[in-house]
């Protein structure tokens, strides 16, 4: 186990490492939680993930090549299988039995490849975060992965407080109503939610377009955080008076913004997002339009988040002040802190044995 106990993320968690289509029969390097990992797809379709540094002289294995289901180092030809075991050494018959590289558990689910950077014995498939909408036949949509130069928790903060839409996304999904409407925050052991209903308001441009009807709307944003870094947001609008707040959304339009923000390093992250909808689901052109349109909204966040990280680096002694609007992000951070504290305690206990 690593000795760094001040780490800003737990290691015992499933992290989105790639969209499923990104991992092919070729070597794909990626950094997850400060760990350099090389991914490839085996001939049986499963995904292998091992440390991206040769046991012998540290050259990244991703600079080598695949030989069947094994990776061959591009310097001296050592080969390793997907379990990290060395299967070939040059110029010698017997292999050092300890030769090998670390392997990481992977799982493919909800159109993502997930990796578990911590203790493999704890890698329970039941703990993969719930983003089922991403492959549910009743929902359609698509997304991207963007690389953001900030601590992943700043993205979590951003998503747990959508009042920023008013100021960051005023040309698309934000208007004054978002910053003014009241909200309710709840939390459990692994989850935190923020629910905001904006009733009888003018729809912002994006939603007016999706709804395709004039007249005031009831708008909802139901944010669901699953520790440490996955957030599914139930969003939509329905004409005011058609019963959405009471549960009948049949006259409105409903989407889910799916987000999983994987720490790459302490100050960079891989941000996987998708937008799915339960209307006009057969229209591929709409899927494409939405993916590209929503992409520009995420770009607005990216600029703010990277500027915020840079400002934090320039003011290392400054803490954040919290407002009422930060209730949701405060809970999300507490749940993250509990996970990292638990890991730190386990390490201390292990060291004491």
């Amino acid at each position: 186990m690593d000795q760094d106990i001040a780490r800003p993320f737990p290691l015992n968690a499933w992290y989105a490492a790639a969209w499923d289509h990104e991992v092919k029969r070729e070597l794909t390097p990626r950094t997850i939680c400060n760990k350099k990992i090389v991914f490839w797809r085996r001939s049986d379709g499963s995904v292998a993930a091992v440390e991206d540094a040769c046991w012998h002289r540290l050259l990244p294995l991703s600079l080598g090549r695949l030989d069947g289901d094994n990776v061959v180092c591009g310097y001296h030809g050592l080969a390793f299988d997907g379990h990290g075991r060395c299967t070939r050494m040059p110029s010698q018959e017997t292999r050092n039995p300890s030769a090998g590289v670390r392997a990481y558990p992977t799982i493919q689910k909800h159109r993502f490849v997930w990796v578990w950077p911590g203790d493999p014995a704890l890698a329970d498939p039941a703990l993969v975060p719930d983003l089922h909408w991403n492959h549910d036949p009743e929902w359609a949509g698509d997304g991207k992965m963007i690389h953001v130069k900030c601590d992943y928790r700043l993205v979590v903060d951003n998503l747990m407080d959508l009042t920023h839409e008013t100021f960051v996304h005023h040309s698309s999904i934000g208007n004054e109503a978002v910053a003014e409407a009241p909200f309710v925050a709840t939390h459990g052991d692994r989850f935190a939610t923020v629910t905001r209903w904006m009733k009888d308001i003018d729809a912002p441009p994006f939603w007016r377009g999706q709804l395709g009807k004039a007249g005031n709307v009831d708008r909802w944003q139901i944010v669901r955080f699953e520790a440490p870094c996955t957030i599914a947001i139930d969003v939509g609008v329905a004409p005011t008076g058609t019963g959405a707040p009471e549960g009948d959304r049949s006259q409105g339009v409903n989407g889910f913004v799916l987000n999983s923000i994987t720490p790459e390093t302490d100050r960079t992250c891989l941000y996987f997002w998708a937008f799915v909808r339960n209307y006009r689901i057969g229209e591929q052109v709409l899927t494409t339009q939405l993916r590209e349109g929503v992409s520009t909204i995420f770009r607005e966040d990216e600029l703010v988040l990277e500027a915020q990280q840079k400002a934090m680096d320039e003011h290392p002694d400054r803490a954040f002040y919290n407002l009422n609007i930060d209730a949701g992000s405060m809970w999300a951070r507490r749940l993250i802190d509990r996970m990292t504290a638990k890991e730190a305690q386990a390490q201390v206990a292990q060291a004491a044995e």
Copy 2:
């Protein structure tokens, strides 16, 4: 007050932050003495300057927008007036009374906007450095601001010893006479001067052009340093024998090189300079020609200064040796050191109370 007492510049001083025309009705970020500051012009024409980091989550306020005379943060919409007081928080009626950002005293004088990064109670307008020639109707001229990647004191050294003109500016204002002529250095509490008369010499190309006459000249350079970083240089030539050394400059041409070098960080600076003259003052074309021509001379200095800073960074243990020519810069540095030592003592005394 900052706790850093080894700082290479005093904080209790007026520093040129911008040319007056640079600060408009828009947000202008600038770093002065390691402090990120956002400037804007209020509707009454005065200049506001506050810390460029939102109280809430540190996003640079310069990424937001102006709303009347207030700045609105581009992330969650907190608004601040020019005194740094928070005037609006999103989604809440009552504002945290401690919410605010630091404001800095400013003053507009001699065509520059000056800022006082230290204790506002000490910001005496009478202490603005004297660069009155820059707006005196008997003088005409213009200048620029250049960003130089070196400790501001290296620029002070450069200007306090003009023998470098012989080697750095030999195609314009330098010739052997500068390096060979004797000089006199004096100093007071806040001022240091270096006076050099080069009598009966050939004029270097720049001055030959300005004078527009053949024959030997008497040339003068009277450098006046005002701590911590403003230097006005009385320069010119007159035909030899017409009495310039005795006080009659009527047959010659006279200019002032005005310099104020503001520390941006410990190793970068904002170098404000102007060249003004008291001849042909109505000719705007000459003003433009001189500004652009002199600009290439400052570029020669910039290359040397940045190479020197780089060499210093590479040789952190090496001190400078001083020659006779460094008498002026040694006095300038002593006056700077006195200011920083005085501030350090005040801090220690304050801490002991």
Copy 3:
């Protein structure tokens, strides 16, 4: 003497600083063993080398100009001869007798300019590494200098174990035979060798082209390391059965790969290489073709070496594991370590006096 005793290279050694043709009657800056040095050729053809930082204010002397055989600083005009003595100061008649910059012994041999960064009293010309093939009339060839961003010892490792040819250079000089053939490693006080004969094998593309005959060959690689960083490799192929292993190479083709890898900094190096041959030595076109062709092979090494250095920087706690193939490089490193340990002991002894 420097106080850094953990240095990865000895200072008391001749290091290749430039190809002979690179040092002309102009100022040529180069960094050798972390020391900034400016080289120039004197009017008598000898090479001067002094510290590239003016005694006065540290400006690199290489930014100045040559005045006869002396260098003149580009800031204030101090002049220094090739022994580092100050020969001119501006504006003063008497010169500070201690004024000067450090001079370094140089020697020109085997088409390279060598410099001795350590104690000048120990700079014995007899210690210049043996690369005589580079100017021997019985051999013809040429080479280059490449700048590689890695510890010079990684290049030594690379050359002491040529099994990497199979994986890094499979399109030119590598095939499976290299990784499979046995080898013999020997060592002395300043030398280490690795000898590999690959008998009755198919020739790789490069050697097939040089030999110009069909049929299996006997191939040899006789690597000779001379501490700290010079490696001459006797290489070639001859048709199997013509007696090459027994000493008769007359039916084959023979070349020497000459390498001297000079530490620039702890993590960068100047890699001087040449390929010379004892066949078709009058054909300049072949010399040019070989230089350019071999150049692409060295580029393949460069990519691997820089990736390895980067990986080492990212894994500072990881040691290398050694395989059988590393026998030669282990000896080379031991000889280097002995030289640096000897210097460290001498420093400690000197400090204790």
